[in-house]
Subunit: 203 residues, 2 copies
């Protein structure tokens, strides 16, 4: 967490779909499980993302920033500009289905988190739950990690473990993992903010 | 398990060192946690493997089959010949530090198990515990899998999960995983033999 000084950390959440992890984070900010944090804005690249409705219901500011065929860098530049305008400290990807440009990564270096539905480094990339079932592992889980240039390969912050049952479908397993994601992501964000506070106290 | 008909399955265990997983399997055969099985022979490629003493203390037959600079295929051919002479059904690798030749794999196709100190497919190969610590995962474990031509990539039979603590050394973590290996390997062998019995009942 860079130079956020005193006061609350300002979070942004990026979504593309239903935003269930966005809701989990928003609820955790609201009820104090993520202390000293404000949810500054929810950004979607999809105008019809169901998560936008859920964010509005919670009184959160929402922004739709569509790509409109622009190069990734240009699209990201608009998002970064909106986040900087709101003094965002920490960016949480929550089902945001686009790869971030180098420029976005540099603008929020070490301040972008993602949640992934596997025990990384197993099963990075798309369809992690199906990958796990196809591979025949007996345990999988979810991982919150820092986002860098690698595919789901940035430093790991927290993980939770989920069992795989013999007759699991992709839907069964995805639902079981998702329930743990909703617990893990708030824990991980609280941990990151707490550590940032400790570092600042050290300085 | 091929054509073992009625009666007990005959196990062989291959070691190169202390053989702690060999002891765990031998004890589980002796006390019935692996039912309907006999431990036919313990084979070491190292004449000074500490596991040989522990096997002898338990009254098990032991064989030292050194490589003596021979090609892998030739060394393996001698081992396979000794296993076949003892009507071995299932081969359990327990810290056996050599890659098996295609010929060995073909002679016991789908009847060779290995235990690996990680939640595969994460961290195959050597020093899996150090790999896990270096990667920063929060959970690791151990995996029993069938051995095929891939590096620790054969079908997974069973896994156990182990937490990683903040201040773990490689030794701390290895000891914690090893304790679970000693529980997992007997469970996995019992499962394989039970399934083999079910298949035979189906025929």
């Amino acid at each position: 967490m860079p130079e956020r000084g005193k006061g609350s950390a300002r979070l942004a959440i990026l979504i593309s779909g239903r935003g269930s992890n966005m809701v989990a984070l928003a609820d955790a900010v609201a009820d104090g499980r993520i202390p000293s944090a404000d949810l500054a804005v929810v950004v979607s690249d999809q105008p019809d993302a169901a998560g936008l409705i859920r964010a509005n219901e919670r009184g959160l500011e929402t922004l739709v920033i569509e790509r409109h065929g622009r190069p990734r860098e240009e699209h990201d530049r608009e998002i970064v500009s909106e986040l900087k305008a709101r003094s965002v400290d920490l960016v949480c990807l929550a089902g945001y289905m686009r790869v971030l440009s180098r420029e976005f990564l540099d603008a929020f270096r070490n301040c972008i988190l993602n949640i992934h539905p596997s025990l990384l480094p197993s099963f990075p990339g798309l369809d992690a739950q199906k990958q796990a079932l196809d591979h025949g592992v007996k345990w999988t889980g979810c991982t919150v990690h820092y986002v860098d240039e690698t595919l789901d390969g940035g430093p790991i912050i927290a993980q939770r473990v989920v069992p795989i049952m013999n007759d699991d479908t992709v839907e069964d397993l995805s639902a079981r993992i998702l329930a743990e994601e909703h617990r893990l992501y708030p824990e991980a964000v609280a941990l990151v903010l707490e550590n940032a506070k400790l570092w600042q106290a050290d300085i």
